[in-house]
Symmetry: C2
Subunit: 241 residues, 2 copies
Amino acid sequence: MATISSYPFTIQPENVDFTLHASVASIISYMLNVAGTDAHRKGFGVEALQGHSFTWVLSRLAVDINTQPRQYSNIEIDTWVNEFNRLSSTRNFKMRIGEDVIAAGVSQWCMLNMETRQAVDMTQLKDIYERAMVAEPSPITAPARLRDIEPQASVSRPVVYSDIDFNRHVNTLRYIDLIFDSLPIELIEKNNGMRLDINFIAEALYGEVLTIGWTSEGNVWQFEISSDSGKKLCRAKIEFK
Amino acid sequence: MATISSYPFTIQPENVDFTLHASVASIISYMLNVAGTDAHRKGFGVEALQGHSFTWVLSRLAVDINTQPRQYSNIEIDTWVNEFNRLSSTRNFKMRIGEDVIAAGVSQWCMLNMETRQAVDMTQLKDIYERAMVAEPSPITAPARLRDIEPQASVSRPVVYSDIDFNRHVNTLRYIDLIFDSLPIELIEKNNGMRLDINFIAEALYGEVLTIGWTSEGNVWQFEISSDSGKKLCRAKIEFK
């Protein structure tokens, strides 16, 4: 058993949007950076796994945001792993300013063998995992499993150089950008918080064309990103408060 | 008179491209961040100017890159101002790993009155400036003044939420992304260094459509970015080594 770890940050100018608050993509970026750092410190980071040709893949994420922190705010992110099974590991986040929780997240990860492109049975890492687990419940409900939508509108654009990471796959955070770039900007400017659920299904490659489709009903927006081969890449749902 | 200031950084995962080296946009981002921090420390940062409704605007930039540093490399950036006149101030950069200069830059800035949108006569700040000047020549020749091109090819796309800064203008670094996204990816993957000159002419607003046009001849690529009103926003030239 372990305890919750906390990581301090100052919100940098390159992480705020035109409202001078951290964008949702930046909030998620801070959380994912903490996931990488904390996994590394606890002995199951990407570096340790690469000895086995294994890597972490984010499969689902839920984030509940009350307040987007302002530029130069000092925040802390608490993180802990509280569940794992053969195919999935759950890592949690609380973003705080002092004692005030401004955002919380739950992420589900699977482990991929990069040679076979197959999921790895994580019970292989049971010993390391059991030492790293924290007996603290997730701060919000687990990410929803999202279903197909019938898009009311869509936009398309090719995958470009600045979208891709070292696998030549579209970077996870770029999907968040694509989703928020599709929303009416007034909704982002005047939001009073939101819950976002995302399912990552497949990876887009350099040269493919992405289509972002969406529907909206009241304060709920649903998104689906697919590639020109018809492959579904990502589904998301935002419920504004 | 002052002396050259140096700022250390470690190249972070979010600043590397698919080759695991810092992208050119990231190298420029590190330099521009240093410009902001150093101006602040010397008493003429954006915060000090906002008392006068003034802000800094980058008008031209030249960067000569020998080596793009790898992820987790420890770099240092030297910066100094060595020239100013009524309308323009020159700030220089050397990016080093140890004593080895891997990239160098020269930037020219003007000061804008945000209320009148007119350039400010910088001799008003003569006293602060003279204390901050360093008697050290620029590390490379000044940014070229670039002329119109006849594009051989072009792509267009709208300005979106994730492109804009607090003025609702397209962020400077996004122009660098748009330029590199237009290059054949093999040229980025296998480059042996380059010199980049950029002229920033006007600002694009949320809702406008950007067109990126280019020509290439041998190892020289020229770019021009305009908005749907026909307004020229930016010209650039890359000469690969």
